[in-house]
């Protein structure tokens, strides 16, 4: 009972936050609403007992992805008129995406209904069960290929990010610390022995 109440409470906040993302005029407010939305989804996942995923959602999305979003949004010159002009331009595309997603959702819910699975609850977890451990036990053994593919994708992401954004500004003076450390006194200072000048 409490479970259900909590679910609807957090789902409602999630819904409002999502609306806030769309309707905020200030992009930074929109990003903050998105952060709130991620928090609420994390709580919903927690209610579904996906402990690890819930906290990783906060860790990765709120702690990392949204920081990038905030960086980008904060440093844009915010021009509200231009942003609103984009709405009509991108509306058709957005509509198509929305229709596809609705279709998929309906299909999943419909399939679930057809399959007549027991949807009333998950299997009870044994004493001392740790969601993270259980996940680890299969991720690195049964799903090892998917895991390694993830590594390759992350590697690709590193390379792509660097090739897309790396710009070297010419003419910058740089400090090369290993060169500095490797220097020894005799490279820099020369002691010259000079005889005292005689007064002639």
């Amino acid at each position: 009972m409490l479970h259900t109440i909590l679910f609807y409470l957090f789902a409602a906040v999630l819904f409002i936050a999502a609306l806030g993302v769309i309707f905020s005029r200030n992009p930074v407010h929109a990003v903050m609403f998105l952060v709130l939305a991620f928090f609420q989804s994390a709580v919903l996942w927690l209610l579904a007992e996906a402990e690890f995923l819930a906290i990783v959602l906060v860790l990765v999305y709120v702690g990392a992805v949204m920081v990038l979003f905030l960086f980008v949004v904060m440093m844009l010159d915010i021009n509200v008129e231009r942003v609103q002009g984009g709405l009509t331009r991108y509306a058709p595309l957005g509509l198509v995406v929305a229709v596809v997603m609705v279709f998929e959702l309906v299909q999943i819910i419909w399939l679930r209904g057809q399959a007549n699975t027991e949807t009333l609850g998950f299997a009870a977890t044994p004493e001392g069960y740790s969601n993270t451990k259980a996940l680890g036990a299969i991720l690195y053994t049964e799903h090892v290929y998917a895991f390694e593919i993830a590594a390759v994708i992350l590697l690709l992401a590193i390379i792509a990010a660097i090739t897309l954004t790396m710009r070297r500004r010419p003419g910058l003076k740089q400090q090369n610390i290993s060169n500095q450390v490797a220097v020894s006194a005799k490279d820099r200072v020369r002691v010259v022995k000079m005889d005292a000048e005689s007064n002639s």
Binding site: L2, N26, V28, H29, M32, V35, E51, F52, I55, V56, V58, L59, V62, G63, A64, V67, L70, F71, M74, S130, N131, T132, Q175, I177
Partner: protein, 359 residues
């Protein structure tokens, strides 16, 4: 009197179990929070005394005996100061930003085991929760810098964000090493994995990670020598340049609470938390207080690390920004990756705390 107490107990028992649970939890939470805030108050006093004596000064000595009431005087002063909200700032975010930095700094204490068996929320994924909340703390700084709409604040916020981000990775990798040794994400279990005296503490097998973790912690909290975010000689006060009165006090509280938190976490991950260093010394007698696990050991370790924070501040000049980034990315991350590899090899060979690997 006894009858009255009994009737009170009976009344209490008549509440539904869920409600009693919530009430007890709230009481515990309030107690812990008040303790943390008091610790923070005296940490500021301690800091001024320690740095004072390191620099041959006396430090605060006017308010109360030995100046002990100084923190309260400071609090009252900050409370009655005007909170200025600059005209061109974003008012809403300007007020929200200090909140966003205090909430994670306090809420992380929910999973910190204060003594054997006392922790507010004994969750399985405790360490993940700690890491997740620490990563949320960066919002306070970024939003404060942006909402203020001042160049100093904005520069401070950007600096601090890039710095926190770099050191968070080093911190995460260092914690992976701790996890490999402890085999659990629960902070209580991590402490229990180090039971058995000084030689069982993770500081010995994980010495490089210990240094990486603690120094990253100093950088994460924007403390000297990594305090470029507020470097007063360059950008005045960085992200909180326009904050005054109580809004500033909240940022201040968050910074110090984070400092105490990092000290507590370091003690738990590497120094056995509540465990006594003399646990294995049987000649002290079986029921010697020195060998018992207690909250006071944890408190002593926390105090020591807080002292190290001040020591660092009094000793080192401020790092240059590119050197900070270099230390985080090019020194700490390689060290941690190498050490994870070393631990992997040791697990393969069944050495040390990693012997539990199934073959």
């Amino acid at each position: 009197m006894a009858e009255f107490l009994q009737s009170l107990m009976a009344y209490w028992e008549s509440f539904p179990a869920d409600l009693r649970f919530v009430v007890i939890a709230t009481m515990q939470i309030l107690a812990v929070t008040i303790c943390v805030i008091l610790t923070v108050a005296f940490t500021t006093y301690f800091e001024r005394k320690v740095i004072g004596s390191m620099q041959g000064r006396i430090g605060p000595n006017r308010v109360g005996p030995l100046g002990l009431l100084q923190p309260f005087a400071d609090v009252i002063k900050l409370l009655i100061k005007e909170v200025v909200i600059p005209q061109k700032s974003n008012r809403f975010l300007f007020v929200i930003a200090p909140l966003l930095s205090i909430i994670p700094a306090l809420a992380t204490w929910a999973v910190i085991p204060l003594s054997d068996g006392f922790v507010i929320a004994d969750i399985n994924a405790g360490l993940l929760y700690v890491l997740a909340l620490t990563s949320v703390g960066v919002y306070g700084v970024i939003l404060a810098g942006w909402a203020t709409n001042s160049k100093y604040a904005f520069l401070g916020a950007m600096r601090s964000a890039a710095q926190i981000v770099a050191y968070e990775i080093a911190m995460g990798f260092a914690l992976v090493g701790v996890l490999m040794a402890a085999g659990s994400l629960n902070l209580g279990d991590i402490t229990r994995a180090q039971a058995g005296g000084l030689s069982h503490w993770f500081i010995l097998p994980l010495l490089p990670l210990f240094f990486v973790y603690f120094i990253s912690g100093v950088a994460e909290t924007n403390r000297a020598p990594f305090d470029v975010a507020e470097g007063e000689s360059e950008i005045v006060a960085g992200f909180h340049v326009e904050y005054s009165g109580v809004a500033f006090a909240v940022f201040f509280l968050a910074e110090y609470a984070n400092m105490v938190l990092i000290s507590a976490l370091t003690a738990i991950f590497f120094l056995g938390g509540w465990a006594s260093p003399f646990e294995g010394w049987s000649f002290l007698g079986d029921d010697s207080l020195l060998r018992a696990t207690s909250f006071f050991w944890l408190a002593a370790k926390i105090s020591f690390f807080i002292f190290v924070f001040f020591w660092l501040r009094a000793t080192f000049p401020r790092y240059r920004y590119d050197q900070i980034m270099r230390l985080g990315w090019k020194v700490f991350i390689p060290i941690t990756i190498v050490w994870i590899a070393v631990e992997g090899v040791m697990a393969w060979l069944h050495v040390g705390p990693w012997a539990r690997l199934a073959s």
